[in-house]
């Protein structure tokens, strides 16, 4: 039986980065993956969606370039070519992971990993089952799209993000069930491509996990772009019509669609992960872990989407690396108290830390200041939409508590705030840095001094 210092099940951002870290620390490492390297992030999530969004953004920019003195006629969209380019990107990054794993002398096992018990893992591949043993095991099997019990879910044309990402044709009418991050990004993508889009959200706002102002801002922006947004609305049934189209029935309202995207959330994926008797403590489908990523089973850690919580690639990567460092008796390599969230709409949305409401609920005397990007030179010259930066801080001390951004480059600018929060800075301290002009980021100084 092959013996390792660490076996990682799942080669997504949580798993493969942990494996790399382990190899760098001198641990003999095995990485088990039943599908493609890179997990959901690389193959069905972050990378493909942002690739398509980039293309859609270009398409929109070109069509709106006349205001800048650029005349572009006969601008056409070739969805198949868009997909091809996206796939090339994914393949390139996937090869990168494979090469790095090779360089770091990590043993790759292509098959389904199952935890058999303490220190034992089986890998089921086409050519048989192999058993591996290790001092430490890291579970990072990720998540999968949640399938709600809506009648008609299994009809042809009702898809999850996995399938929609491979769509070679642009639908005329797209109905999106679920207005969270995945739903609004697809709404943004298809609206830019010219599809007629409707988003249906059961809660009172889009992006229910983010603050109200962001949600309201996005709702208004989407409506401006012709997306129909229905909140506080539940889908009762999906039906197939004679002409092959679908009807999405919400009781009081019903709408026609050529394609229906179901994006109501993702759930931890643990199918076949545990042999009988080898299941750690679970909580409503997720693996329960402590601050170091340890499960209730000795020597077994779990990180990423399978542990529930914030399902983001960078959260998984950080947790994975920290878990490995914990195994090696080392300090954590990154501060997990502040995990930024980004939504790749146009303009982008990014948040880190607490909103004013959250701070108040936590008993802190918090205030916030908002600045509009309409006074920001770079924003005006690039013709960007309404954007803003809101900074939340402790009233007495000025200590930063959080930031919510909706503006160009929000997903890049947010990292400044994450850094400042991690370092426990006050508004004044963060404002000390001289930010160049003209940039989007100089609005940060404005917001800190407002």
């Amino acid at each position: 039986m092959k013996a390792y210092d660490l076996i990682v099940i799942g080669a997504g951002p949580g798993g493969y980065e942990a494996a790399f870290e382990a190899a760098d620390l001198g641990m003999k490492t095995a990485l088990v993956e039943k599908e493609a390297l890179g997990g959901t992030c690389l193959n069905h999530g972050c990378i493909p969606t942002k690739s398509l969004l980039h293309a859609a953004g270009l398409y929109r920019s070109i069509r709106e370039a006349e205001a800048f003195g650029i005349a572009a006629e006969h601008v056409s969209l070739d969805v198949e070519r868009m997909q091809k380019r996206k796939n090339e990107t994914v393949l390139q990054l996937r090869r990168g992971i494979e090469m790095t794993a090779g360089k770091k002398k990590i043993d790759l096992f292509r098959g389904k990993g199952t935890l058999l018990g303490k220190g034992k893992v089986s890998v089921a591949a086409e050519n048989g089952v192999e058993e591996l043993c290790a001092k430490h095991i890291l579970l990072a099997p990720g998540s999968c799209p949640a399938r709600p019990p809506i009648p008609g879910m299994d009809l042809e044309g009702v898809v999850t993000s996995d399938e929609l990402l491979e769509a070679e044709k642009k639908p005329e009418r797209l109905v999106i069930i679920g207005g969270g991050v995945i739903g609004v990004e697809f709404a943004s993508l298809y609206a830019a491509l010219g599809t007629s889009v409707t988003v249906i959200e059961a809660m009172g706002q889009l992006l229910p996990s983010l603050d109200r102002e962001i949600a309201q801002s996005l709702k208004m922006l989407m409506k401006k772009r012709g997306v129909q947004v229905l909140t506080d609305t539940r889908v009762q049934e999906i039906r197939r019509n004679e002409d092959g189209s679908l009807t999405v029935d919400c009781g009081e309202e019903a709408m026609e669609a050529d394609l229906v995207l179901v994006s109501v959330g993702r759930r931890p994926y643990t199918e076949g992960l545990f042999a009988p008797g080898a299941e750690p403590e679970m909580d409503r489908g997720r693996i329960v872990t402590d601050a170091f990523g340890r499960t209730s089973l000795e020597g077994v850690y779990a990180v990423g989407d399978v542990t529930g919580g914030i399902m983001l690639a960078h959260a998984a990567t950080t947790a994975g690396k920290n878990a490995v460092r914990h195994m090696a008796g080392l300090e954590a390599c990154a501060d997990t108290r502040f995990i930024p969230s980004c939504v790749y709409t146009e303009p982008e949305i990014a948040c880190v830390g607490m909103t004013q409401d959250e701070a108040k609920a936590a008993g802190l005397a918090a205030e916030s200041r908002k600045v509009l990007m309409s006074a920001n030179g770079k924003t005006v010259l690039s013709g960007a939409e309404r954007g803003y930066i809101r900074v939340v801080f402790e009233k007495e001390t000025g200590k930063l508590l959080g930031a919510q951004l909706m503006c160009e480059r929000a997903s890049d600018i947010i990292s400044e705030f994450t850094q400042a929060l991690s370092a426990g800075m006050t508004r004044e301290e963060m404002a000390q840095a001289v930010r160049p002009h003209p940039t989007f980021s100089e609005a940060v100084t404005e917001a800190l001094r407002a």
């Binding site: 109200r212 309201q216 801002s217 208004m220 509009l372 309409s374 803003y388």
Partner: protein, 126 residues
């Protein structure tokens, strides 16, 4: 400039209409919307949020600037005008119909003026 008789006004240009049920509708005045210019966004609180007399509970945006809106009363938000969130231009078009929130459980209020006093106040400001 319009100053409805039945309303009360604050020094920071909000109007308030007390009802028989012990609640109060709150909005911004005609003078306020005129000063602010075309309003494109209103950031409203949520049902159940606390209101403190004299403190900001919402903000409005013109293209250029953000302005805080202060609560005339201390209480709790009973209802939020979601329609206003969808159509901020209503604050410019019909400021006295474009209520932001309905307050309930009112325990305190800022110094309020009647229509005549507010009109005089506005005149002295301008």
């Amino acid at each position: 400039m319009h100053f409805p008789e039945e309303l009360k006004y604050t020094k920071t240009h909000e109007w308030v209409r007390f009802t028989d049920e012990g609640t109060a509708y709150i909005g911004i005045t005609d003078y306020a919307q005129d000063q602010l210019g075309d309003l494109v966004f209103v950031n409203l609180p949520a049902e159940g949020d606390d209101l403190t007399a004299g403190e900001s509970f919402a903000d409005v945006e013109s293209v250029k600037a953000v302005s805080d809106v202060n609560s005339p009363v201390t209480g709790t938000v009973k209802e939020v005008n979601e329609d206003l969130a969808e159509a901020p231009e209503k604050m410019n078009e019909t400021p006295y119909e474009a209520w932001f929130v309905v307050a309930e459980g009112i325990t305190d209020q800022v110094e309020l003026m009647d229509a005549k006093a507010y009109e005089a106040f506005v005149e002295s400001e301008g």
